[in-house]
Symmetry: C2
Subunit: 341 residues, 2 copies
């Protein structure tokens, strides 16, 4: 049954080469949210888009770009892996409200308001003081709602997250994080946040990044499924997805860029430490093409029905994104440019 389902991984940042696209295709994943930006400004983000365009051109037999959930249905039908884009930071819009629509038009479907640090929009989860959504942040939320760019608070602090949930007229997401009750971490979320998020129609994607899991890289599939089960007991299955945060085959240099960007003169270790500075060891049950299917089978063994499991593995993301990506008004409808393959 797994093969027939729409399977969506709500966040990855792997080394995007042909070899990995083949792994993705073999995995049965229908669509992946690929992080495009950690600290890139507007101009640099254009180069990231250009790099992806070349990947689509050169690997058109394996992958295709996703601009709407209709494209995901197409990807499923033609047997390709759909890729859609998000930024883990608001750096692509710099200080310019109008760049939200520009980036949305370019294909940036999701944007975090912060990445660990204070941003122009909100406070990140590593700051000592969380001052909530800023003046610019309030306008940015309204504009993201208007153009149908999904708000993601995965790396944001608690107050900012609760305010964003409240200020946004549309449901928002936490694409990749786990509940604090399973493993306490600055990046994981309180029950208050998870309840507020889901009560407003929002979605949380469970992370497979070892730093977010109980027992780190030793976390078993059973432990993971137990965490999902407890969360479902708390808020139901309709608001749960997977956002694996999988970062396969990336060099240490990329980890340093994610953690330090251009803002730090001294090495910041993020969720690691000076003595544990490298990528965490991958989970043996989630590092190859069988990862999502392992979770599928694990959830069923742990007591979820097939229907519930299908929702958690992709259908919930599909429905959430289908609603979230529609513009608030479409009185003006323009036709698509058809990307050459």
């Amino acid at each position: 049954m797994y093969k027939k389902r729409i399977i969506i991984d709500g966040l990855q940042y792997c080394r995007w080469d042909r070899e990995y696209f083949q792994v993705l295709k073999d995995s049965g994943i229908t669509a992946v949210h690929a992080t495009m930006v950690y600290h890139e400004n507007a101009r640099e983000t254009l180069t990231r888009f250009a790099e992806w365009n070349l990947r689509f051109e050169q690997n058109a037999d394996l992958i295709m770009p996703i601009h709407s959930m209709a494209d995901v249905a197409t990807a499923k039908r033609v047997g390709k892996v759909g890729i859609y884009f998000g930024a883990q930071n608001c750096s692509p819009i710099e200080d310019e409200i109008g760049l939200i629509e520009v980036m949305r038009q370019q294909g940036l479907l999701i944007m975090q308001l912060t990445y660990n640090n204070q941003s122009l929009l909100a406070t990140g989860c590593y700051e000592q003081h969380d001052s909530g959504i800023t003046r610019f942040g309030k306008q940015a939320i309204e504009e993201m709602n208007r153009v149908g760019m999904v708000i993601d608070m995965s790396h944001s602090a608690e107050r900012s997250t609760l305010e964003a949930i409240d200020l946004s007229s549309r449901p928002i997401c936490i694409s990749h994080a786990n509940p604090n009750f399973a493993h306490h971490a600055l990046r994981n979320k309180s029950n208050d946040v998870i309840k507020a998020l889901t009560a407003r129609g929002g979605l949380i994607g469970f992370s497979l990044y070892p730093f977010h899991l109980p027992n780190g890289s030793q976390c078993s599939l059973e432990d993971f499924c137990q965490m999902v089960g407890k969360t479902a007991d708390l808020v139901g299955v309709e608001h749960l997805g997977i956002g694996s945060d999988l970062c396969l085959n990336q060099p240490q240099q990329v980890l340093q860029w994610m953690r330090n960007g251009r803002w730090s003169k001294t090495m910041d270790y993020g969720e690691g430490s000076a003595t544990n500075a490298a990528w965490p060891d991958a989970l043996p049950w989630f590092c190859g093409s069988a990862g999502m299917e392992n979770i599928y089978n694990g959830l069923i063994r742990s007591g979820f029905s097939e229907s519930e499991t299908g929702k958690i593995l992709g259908e919930n993301w599909f429905n959430f994104l289908e609603a979230g990506l529609a513009p608030t008004s479409n009185k003006v409808v323009h036709s698509a440019w058809k990307q050459p393959a």
Copy 2:
């Protein structure tokens, strides 16, 4: 009959405010090619797009964005003026081949390879020596062909223009210029260029900018129509359009930006001179909402049939752009984001 036709002005750079959008609507024009860029780099071009998005949002009852000729048909049906975008320079792509697809995705449908000066791609019409299409230029032409971005050589020098016509696998345009036989100017085109362009399916749009016309601002409608007639005798009516180069209500500052950009420390006067530095006086028969209809009637009086006149006033542009904007391959078709109105 004028009112029933698709009327396209193949280039304008007016002061784009609500008052002028009302003039455009009253004029019966279906679609206008609006210049977005003279010297702006990639980042600055994003701000130009953001400014236009705001205009579309605030004037959705009058104008709509055009991404394909299907949108022009929609504009005609719903009684709005369609706006499509081009750059008069290759500055938006800087030195990066991948930005051609990025800008095309954003809605830049047409791009000149040069604006008067030597560019990274080709030689402009004001340079003393024309070295033809550059190494980067050859790759850019191929990429523009691939993604369906129309090549425009209005401000390019002769050799570069002939080479572009030859190198491009798809017809190109000279969106706004006149034949040298009507008025000799660095910006106007030789019979050789016009014949080579049209023999390959290209299109030339007649300019209404006084510096491009016999007798400048005193050029009569009859003189203009005679020029069109002689060109039709030379290459037929299928390859002719209007590209008025209308720059209404713009301050002197804008003219200086067009002429000097950031490249000149001393004032460059373009087609003017130190003693004639300002905008030329507008043609009395082409400065308000009746301009295109005046030309329509003038062409019929000068002996063109209604069918021929309809082609010159818009249908030729429509057919040329419909073919030119299609990507070379559309094996991958993604759905459009629907711009909020």
